[in-house]
């Protein structure tokens, strides 16, 4: 039987506010346990929440970026359940009146096609604390630093049909929230976490199959693996005559399996009701327009502009615009170097592989956009050949100064003096008389193959400094002239 996979995602993004959503505590990650927990975060008797307006502004930014309706009347609700790292015994969230209503996000699939994923809603809520199960001799430690951190929970429609599509969607959301500057996107620190709702159905069937929810997957790779494993599990279950039971599952990346956490029957009745400590928040049109006018350029517009303004291919434009930092870096290099295509190549190929090798992001690149742009100027004025430029780039990455300093220190200046090149070529030809004769006796096809030998010898003799264009031109003249 042919199976179709149906996936919907709930993405929790921690908003990059200075303070928590309902208290004045800082939101910095990694502080000593319970040092960023105020009376409100501790759920002390008698304390009250006060909404952080910045969290609302960020949520509205997201809503506008996904073309969503912004809920004008926002109601905060209490989601009641007991857990040791939930200090009040309820989480303040939104139920019936979320800040962001229906919207969509276009994602680019591997084959270049664009797919539109529906966004059902996005709502504001507070994060819980953390339960620490190690270092307490069998007891559990509670760290409430994270309690009250603002989250925007983004709920998608069940529009994705493969794990790869799901990952592409998460990456697009990841890029978007970073573009907007509303989330640092640090998945390792839990700033962006994903719950995956997965079901399968026979191809062609209209109704959805029974879904399982995989909780809290926190890397692109794990999302893909967790979904694929869950899909396989469900298909095998059904094909063996079983039935998928609606439940919540956890993905264990070490064992690469999902396991049951709780069934629908065991699920909590959260007893949502409007939080009487918080009045409804009315978002006025003027506020929405003010946020809209301050929105940064977003990925789709940037891709379009890169093609139009710099003449880049759709692929190159999409790669460079994948993150705001990379796009900004590219534009800085292009502006200094004066050649956008050259800049695009260097950023994607040489810089890309260097960052990959070092395992770091572009904002930590050892070669700044100023350095790289300055080097492009030396390529364009023929001081550097492509090969020399790579040497200069490596030296710059090693902290040996800017392009001019490296060229000076290493004597890497390209030889463009035609007299010097002629002398060099005469020496090369004189040292290879046999090959010269063979070349001259050969037909057009063979000559083309042999030509490279002479170029290689000439470049070697010049220690790579000879201008390759001039070497080609003069060689051809001398061999055939």
């Amino acid at each position: 039987m042919q199976w179709e996979v149906v996936i919907g995602l709930e993405i929790h993004t921690q908003l990059a506010t200075q303070s928590k959503i309902f208290s004045g505590s800082a939101t910095t990650f990694g502080s000593e346990p319970n040092t960023q927990a105020s009376l409100v975060d501790l759920g002390m008797p008698g304390v009250l929440p006060v909404l952080n307006a910045e969290a609302v502004r960020m949520a509205v930014m997201f809503g506008l970026a996904v073309g969503a309706h912004i809920g004008q009347r926002n109601v905060f609700a209490r989601k009641n359940y007991f857990y040791p790292d939930l200090p009040k015994g309820y989480q303040i969230s939104q139920m019936d009146h979320p800040v962001v209503g229906k919207g969509y996000l276009d994602i680019t699939l591997e084959d270049g096609t664009i797919k539109r994923v529906g966004i059902t809603r996005a709502h504001l809520e507070e994060d819980a604390g953390k339960s620490l199960h190690e270092d307490f001799n069998g007891a559990t430690g509670i760290d409430l630093n994270r309690a009250g951190t603002p989250l925007l929970e983004i709920v998608s429609e069940p529009d994705m049909r493969s794990a790869k599509e799901a990952v592409a969607y998460v990456k697009a959301i990841h890029a978007l929230v970073r573009y907007l500057g509303i989330c640092d996107g640090n998945m390792a620190e839990g700033s962006l976490r994903c719950d995956c709702n997965v079901s399968v159905r026979p191809k062609g069937q209209a109704e959805f199959g029974t879904r399982c929810e995989i909780k809290n997957v926190n890397s692109f790779r794990f999302i893909e693996r967790a979904i694929n494993h869950e899909v396989q599990r469900q298909i095998e279950l059904i094909e063996d005559g079983g039935r998928v039971v609606q439940e919540t599952r956890l993905y264990d990346p070490n064992k690469d399996v999902t396991r049951s956490m709780r069934s629908k029957e065991e699920a909590n009745d959260y007893r949502y009701f409007p939080d009487p400590d918080l009045l409804p928040v009315v978002i006025e049109d003027a506020f929405i327009e003010q946020v809209r006018s301050a929105l940064p350029e977003l990925p789709p517009q940037k891709v379009e502009r890169f093609q139009r303004q710099y003449g880049l291919s759709p692929y190159d434009a999409a790669v460079l615009a994948a993150s705001r930092e990379q796009a900004d870096y590219f534009e800085a290099v292009a502006a200094i170097g004066g050649d956008a295509k050259l800049a695009a190549n260097w950023v994607m190929v040489e810089l890309g592989s260097l960052l990959n090798k070092l395992g770091i992001d572009i904002d930590q690149a050892p070669v700044s956009a100023e350095l790289l742009g300055g080097m492009l100027l030396r390529i364009r004025d023929n001081t550097l050949s492509g090969k020399l430029a790579k040497m200069v780039f490596e030296a710059m990455a090693a902290g040996e100064g800017n392009a001019d300093q490296v060229i000076e220190a290493k004597g890497l200046k390209q030889v463009t003096d035609s007299g010097a090149i002629e002398t060099l070529l005469d020496e090369v030809l004189a040292a290879n008389t046999q090959q010269v004769e063979q070349y001259r006796a050969a037909d057009e096809a063979k000559r083309a193959k042999m030509f490279g030998f002479f170029v290689g010898q000439a470049m070697k003799a010049s220690k790579g400094k000879a201008n390759p264009g001039q070497v080609n031109e003069w060689l051809k003249r001398k061999l055939e002239g």
């Binding site: 009376l39 008698g46 009250l48 006060v50 009641n80 040791p84 015994g89 007893r271």
Partner: protein, 483 residues
Amino acid sequence: MHELTLAQIARGLADKTFSSEELTGALLARIAEHDGRLNSFISVTAERALAQARAADARRASGETGALLGAPVAHKDLFCTHGVRTTCASRMLENFEAPYNATVVEKLDAAGMVTLGKTNMDEFAMGSASENSHFGPVKNPWNLEHVPGGSSGGSAAAVAARLLPASTGTDTGGSIRQPAAFTNLTGLKPTYGRVSRWGMIAYASSLDQGGPLARTAEDCALLLQGMAGFDPKDSTSIDEPVPDFSAGLNTSLEGLSIGVPKEYFSPGLDPRIGDAVQATVAELQKLGARVVDISLPNLGHAIPAYYVIAPAEASSNLSRFDGVRFGYRCEHPADLTDLYKRSRGEGFGAEVQRRIMVGTYALSAGYYDAYYVKAQQVRRLIKNDFMAAFEQVDVILGPTTPNPAWKIGAKSADPVAAYLEDFYTITANMAGLPGLSMPAGFVDGLPVGVQLLAPYFQEGRLLNVAHRYQQVTDWHRRSPEGF
């Protein structure tokens, strides 16, 4: 000295007739002598009080003035006080010391008031008799076999017995006004949002409001002045200017229109209290007021709606008492569920558990629309009734309670009978309106009260009417025998 009102104390301190330290010492001695019979205090903070009194005397000596500077007060034991335990009269918080002050405490401290202690109450403010206390029931000084009302029963009994001139209370369904009526005091529940709820341990957040209990309207005006005001720490606090409540006390009642709802005179009302209401109306007419018959058609739905909303909010508000971070924790929990179940089962009393269960039920999937949503709709109707009534009249007048204080234990077996006693008071909480109860006579030797309700933020009008009434009557001056 213990017969002095807050206003008289302010004058005495200003004239240096006595010092705050002398006054404080005298009242502490009185508490030590008499409170054994009343059980109105959970904590008496004698040393702190004397230190505060000396500090107030020093401030006054350096030229500072202020009606509340050096004047004594006691706080209902659900206002968080840094350095003094805040128990909510519950085993759950028997040894809980808040690491901060409630805004009300902070403001009154700053004004120089001297806190004599924390008063007894119904556990977590759930009750109308101050019988539901882990620290034992409070007695009514007018008859020690009777309840003082609740939930602010300790605050009421202490002031009625002249242990101090005024105290703070909270009112969720009548918890200031009803004990005021039962003990011959003046008690005011301000407009919802007038007094900050920060640090006031919540029973039902959308209904709770702090306010003063004192022997006169004049004293209530003084204490409310210190308590009221916008607080950015409370999102439901309202940024509305606070008038000078004392300045309007003597405004003439000429032309004032008083609405008397016909639904108030139902078969449940003790006719002798009905007579006291009519006598009060007649007295106010002599002062120039005119009476208008009005109707509050949805009054009959108020109690069932209230007893859905209040427990629903309470069930969630009290979830934080789970034995994990503070408060009572059971011995040797077997696992997490056992920790929760036994800590809460052993830490909360029967009435609190009852309301948590009722509220949890009302919010459950499948019942939410039928109970909670419907109750909120009723609440809206009740508010609309008042809005319509206040189109016609300036204040609404009626009994505070259908009956005088009952005997301790008389309604313990039948919680619903006790709930019905809230008939006249809860609607002000449902609508968020200010309400005041003032002494209006005696039935079988027990005090009865008349309640006045006014439009939003018209506490001044309530105090004005009560003060003028108290100028021509002396019910409020009577003191209980033996105190």
